[in-house]
Symmetry: C2
Subunit: 175 residues, 2 copies
Amino acid sequence: MVRILGIDPGSQRTGIGVIDVAADGRCRFVHCEALKLLDAPDFPSRLGLLCEGLERVLDAWQPHQVAIETVFMDKSAMSALKLGHARGAALATVVRRKLVISEYAPRVIKQSLVGRGAADKLQVQHMVRLLLNLAEMKLQADAADALAVALTHAHMSATAIRTGLAVTDLRRRGT
Amino acid sequence: MVRILGIDPGSQRTGIGVIDVAADGRCRFVHCEALKLLDAPDFPSRLGLLCEGLERVLDAWQPHQVAIETVFMDKSAMSALKLGHARGAALATVVRRKLVISEYAPRVIKQSLVGRGAADKLQVQHMVRLLLNLAEMKLQADAADALAVALTHAHMSATAIRTGLAVTDLRRRGT
């Protein structure tokens, strides 16, 4: 069994999702949440909350692998900067635990879950529910996106094992 | 005596400077260095190195206050994103130590040290050497920039005490 932590970083909310992948490739929902960062008194404190929340999840669920979305670069410099702060704080927290991080572009996540790189967010969330048997559960958008990147990593790893290709090669092909 | 840590964050090199400010406002050089991050095997590991280096300095020199440059926004979204990652990792490390962070725009730092918001980098470095008696010392550009933001914070705090204005008001006036 491999436990994967997915992260959808954001400076207002950061989504976190944990899944287990069995030897036969089946994925099981373990945990998800959205860290709410807007309550912090200032921007640096938001990043502090993000790291604290992430460390709490790392301690509680002890994932073996971590997957995170890359940034879709059709953004203004200002939003790229803010997102960069959140992503930098998250990556620094994870890498200091000596965990390997895999990064997936939004297009690759959509392709992997919906079969189409241009799928919309609702379709992705629908597939997250379907693949993890979460029909009844209330699922926040950011938490669902974090589960989506964790599922993508599970799919990519399974394909990598099947085809003998490295996950990095598959990521490159998907983008 | 107040000990100030200045940070000039960057994803390739991060400058760090520590100064002491006496009760009469005189500033004394304590320590400076540039964390070299390009040796890391990948981008997340660079952020890990940044945090480790910063924590080592925080442990060794125990600063009371921290000052950091804001981002000059005439940058592409891609460089803003990279710089944001470094800055986010640095801010998260500092804020988790419950240290207060003051942020200064490049214009304000130049104004405070050289008397002109449009001064060039060499003039700023010259003033850092002059104010801290570092004529003989080899000084890396990033480390000098970190000392510059620490000195700016010292000047702003002294002016704040003299005028009864909060540092945040002074910062606003300077920009």
